[in-house]
Each structure stands twice: as structure tokens, then as C-alpha cells.
Amino acid sequence: MQVTFKLFAMLQDYLPPEGRKDNVLALDLADGTTIQQVIERFALPEKSCKLVLVDGTFVPPAERDTRTLKEGETLAIWPPIAGG
């Protein structure tokens, strides 16, 4: 299945060069892949995965192990950041 994967701020360094320009990478994943599996595949530090959104909706840390991604969804992750 095709999933859109986005990493922002300091995490964008974990994307391959072709993804860094726009913070986005198209992923071809096996059905049933969880958010946690994607995090591990890209070796993202756990403590840096503060804000995890799937199609803009927050996924709590406790659900990352079980939340499977679906065809066409967008997974976006930020480290701890703030603004205002």
C-alpha cells in the first residue's frame, strides 16, 4: 500500500535526500504496518517522536504499536516544538 510519510524540523534529517526538500516521502508498505514499525524503520529516536499525526489527527504514544496505516494515509511526525 502507498502511504505518504512526512518528517519535520530536526527529524527531516532522517529522510533520504530526495525527501528532505519537501519533507515528504512516498512509502510502499506491507499491509498491516504500524506507526511504530515505520518509526523503527527510519531509526527515529523515540523521544524525538513527540507529535505524531495521521491525516492530521493525533495518535497517542500508547497507540503507535497497534495503529496500522491504511492505503493513502499521511503519517507526519515532529520532535518537541512549539510556537505562538
Binding site: L53, T57, P60, I81
Partner: protein, 615 residues
Amino acid sequence: MAWTSKVLRVDLTKGTCKSEPLNMEWAQQYLGQRGLATKYFISEVDPKVDPLSPENKLIMVTGPLTGTMASTGGRYSVVTKGALTGAIACSNSGGYFGAELKFAGWDMIIFEGKSPKPVYLSIENDKVELKDAAGLWGKTVWQTEEIIKKSHQDPQLRVSSIGRAGENGVMYAGIINDLHRAAGRSGVGTVMGSKNLKAVAVRGTLGVGNIKDPRAFMVATMAAKKVLADNAVTGQGLPAYGTQVLMNVINEMGALPTRNHRDVSFEDGRKISAEAMAEKRPTDGKSHLVTNAACFGCTIACGRISKIDETHFSVVNKPEYWGASGGLEYEAAWALGAANGVGDLEALQYANLLCNEDGMDPISFGATVGAAMELYDLGILTKEQIGMEAPFGSAKALCELAEMTVKGEGFGKELGLGSARLCEKYGRPDLSMSVKKQEFPAYDSRGIQGMGLTYATSNRGACHLRSYTVASEVLGIPFKTDPLVTEGKAGLVKAFQDATSVFDSAGVCVFTTFAWSLADLQPQLDAACEGDWTMEKLAEVGERIYNMERLFNNAAGFTAKDDDLPPRLKTEPAKTGPAKGLVNGIDLMRPEYYQLRGWDEQGVPSQETLSRLGL
């Protein structure tokens, strides 16, 4: 005690400057800065005063921690009745001016009356003088600072001034210090301009040596600085990417107001984000962002310093804008960009530079451009009226309209009215995205429900800095709440409003609250300030300040009807994203909020509430 215990009262009509003792009883009840100056203001000014009349007053005020070694202790505020809103106004600024004012030995300056001719106030410790500003009138903020420093032969002067926007009656003119730090909102610069007061130049060499318990204060401030340094947000995220890092977050979650709130996501959001600012440009191989920057005493350093693309159409023949300067911050980038559909980062920075150079709130300006572009899109405003084609997305129109507005030329004069007055004039008041005539900042309240209540009940008109529930609803600080529901938001907003009132009255930056709670601020205040500053006392002070501001607004004529959102946010559901199909539930949240506040159904504090808070 950390207060200097001295107030400078400047009668602009008579041209006199007098020192008077600070009311220490009030200092114990209202702490400083926002709270204490507002207490002075409402005690001296008729709530129904015309904001632009000589009878309005304007107070520049520091907090007890301003100028101390507390992290971010460089803040000062401007308190007045806002020109844009007609409500109580309190605009807070960083930079170095506030600390310098404290070093000169003053807690606050109260300006009253109106000078018969342009003047500026010169302060060198106790030596205070109103000086002729005929040669400064008509100059920009940047020119004014340079001229004053040269004429005083003192490059270490700190200057706070208005630009041409404040002189020309732009209703959302701000007061700029240190070239690009702003007391930006509610038209405090417009009030300053109406008094023929161009600038305040201050040099202070007295320091702040009156801390109650210096040893305890050093221990407390060091511990609090460690909290900021160890926190991933204040220690790493903000210094590296600044506030602008929110652009992609808020856009991804479908809460980025776009094209005057017609849409909730912006297709070009990434092009105007922090990540884009850090990339090398194809034109010159340089990044927009040069470095981060800190205000006085700040150990976070979230500020952005950027260099505009010299080949960009806006500045190609204007080398005066090619140097490194402040911006872009998130709110300005949103208002100048997404709010009117412009995805040209360099154009946003040019408009932002003009706002800094001539003292104009970029939030209200950008959002007013968005309203004008919608009026143009609907055919209500024409190319002939505006003087150019002004469709959503036009970077050229944005830049030209910014130039016209600061100069008060052509249609810029109408943009200077703000969106509420502009849309009213053209028969579509519903198209002003504002509360109490002040434009929304960068969060769509259909996608972040608590911000709807924040905007509606903000005492200074729509504002994110009165209760930043985004911290909880989006970022999980101090705990995560669901942005799409109204349940629990009344209590959340009240808690944020009361706590923020304390931080705004202490002399520190509200951005510390991404890491600090009141429990981190309390030991610093207790060690610095005379009196017993317990957590309970601080909580009560915060609630007292919010209610005091409310009383002023009620007396000024505001009612529960003014605690509301524009019809678009209540009747036009979000088109995309997680909030698709949702409107803001302000009518559900407001009654509970009033109840929690101890206000009646009309938003009037009950006698019991007033008695409990000593009001």
C-alpha cells in the same frame, strides 16, 4: 524587592515630568507590568474615553523580574485603551528596552494628555526631559532610532518608537523597540501617535539591585534556567526553528486559516514554513534564515533573523532592505501569507520588514488584506478602488498594499482601518475575521475548538496570547487534549488566562510556559519581591487581573454579545481535514466559562466573585 518603587508621570499637555512613589499596596495585589499598570489605568481613566483623545492615557511598564537575571526577564508592556478595539489593551514586547527602563530606575511611565507638537521622551536615569521631535516626525522607526542615538552621541540608548503608521492613524499601529521587537497589537501605537509622542529613548546605569533575597533568587533563577535548558521545546525546538515551525503542524491538522478563513489548509503552507526558511534558495544559494536571536536575559532565543533575497521583485532596487533583520515569526508569516493565500516567502518578509520599519501589527494588517481580497473576489471592491488587481494569492498586491498602508496613501488609508471597519464600510461586516474588532491570529477555531473561546473572551480582542490552549490541544503541554471537542475547554481557557496574567505581570516571556508552570515562576518571584508570594496568592492575582480587565471592558460598553465569533466560524463548516464538517462550538463553551468565572449570563462578574477577589 524587585520594584524600583518609582513611577514617572509625564503630562504631555503641560510638558511636565514628575516622579512619584509606586503604590506598593497595589503591587502586592497586581504584581507588576500588565496587572499593576492596568490597575493604575482603570483607576485614572474613564472607561468610555475616546481612545484617541487626550483623556486616554498610555502606560509603559516593567515587571518585578524585568532587568533581573531571571531568564527572559526583559519584558515590558504598553497598557492603554486600544485604538483598534476600544477595549483594555496590553501589548507586551521583548528586546532590551524594558530592561533599560528598569535600569534607569523606573517601574513605569504614565503618559497623559497630548503634546501640542511632536516630542520624544529622553531618560537618562533620573534626568528626564521631553524633547522636540519635529525632525523625527515623518520618519520611520529605523530612522528615528538612528537619529536619536546620533543626536545623543550614545549608541547604547534603547529606543521605543512609532513609525509612520502610528502617525498616519493606522488603527493597528504598534510601538517598536530595538528595531524589530513590537508591542504590536490593539493599536497602542495609534494612541501614542495621537498624543504627538514619537519615541522614548532610555539609558539606565543603575541596574536592579533591590532583590529581596539575592542568594535565594540566584538559586531559584538557576534552577528555572535549567528547566528551560533541559526541556526539548525551550532548549532545542524553539532556538532551532523558532515559532515558524508551527506552520506545517497547524496546516497538516487542518487548522491553518486560509484566504480569510474560507479554507483551513494552505496548499503552499510548506513554502512559508520554518523548514523553507532554512533551505538554500535557488537564486543565490543562501538560506533565508541567518541566525536565531535572544531578547534581554533570554536563555531560549527563539527570535529569527533573516536576509531577504536581493533579487526578489519587492526589493531588487531597494538595498536598504538587504541586510539581516527580524522575521519571520509564525503569526506574521501566517497573516501575511496563508490569510491571503500568498505563498511567496520573500514577499512575506518584505511586508514584515515594512511592518517593523513603520510600526504596524502584521497580524491585523495581513488579516485585513485577506478581508479586502475577499471583498475584491466578490466584486464588492474593484481594481479601480484598490488601485490594483488584488486577488487572493497576489504577492505583488500584498507588497504594494503594505507600502500604501504605512504611508497612508490611496486604498492603504482604508486598509489602515482594520478589517472590522473596512468590512462594515462595504456592507459585509460578516467578512471581518475578528473579535472586538481585533483580527484573529493563526489558528482556525473550527480545528482547535478551545481557541474559539480564547478569542471570544480575550479582554483585548481576538488574541492567542491570552490563553494559548494550542499548547494543550495541539502540542500536549502540559497535557494533551482533543482539539476537536468543546468538552473541558471552558476550564482549560480559564486556567490558561489566569496563569498567563501572572506571567505577563512578572516581567518574563510567556514562552517560558512551554517548560515552566507557575510552580517554576513562584520561587523566583518570592525571592525577588517583598511580601509572601505563594502559589495561592499568584493564582488569585491572575484571576483578579483577568476580572479587573473584564470590569473595565464592561464599563466601556462591551457585553456578552461581544464574546462571540464571526458567523463564518459558527455556520460554515471546515471543508477539509480532521475538522471537516465542524464549526466552532462557542455557544456551548461560553455559558460554562461564565459559570466557572463566577459571572452571570451577561458576562458580568457577580458580587461574590468581586468580593472574593478584592475588586
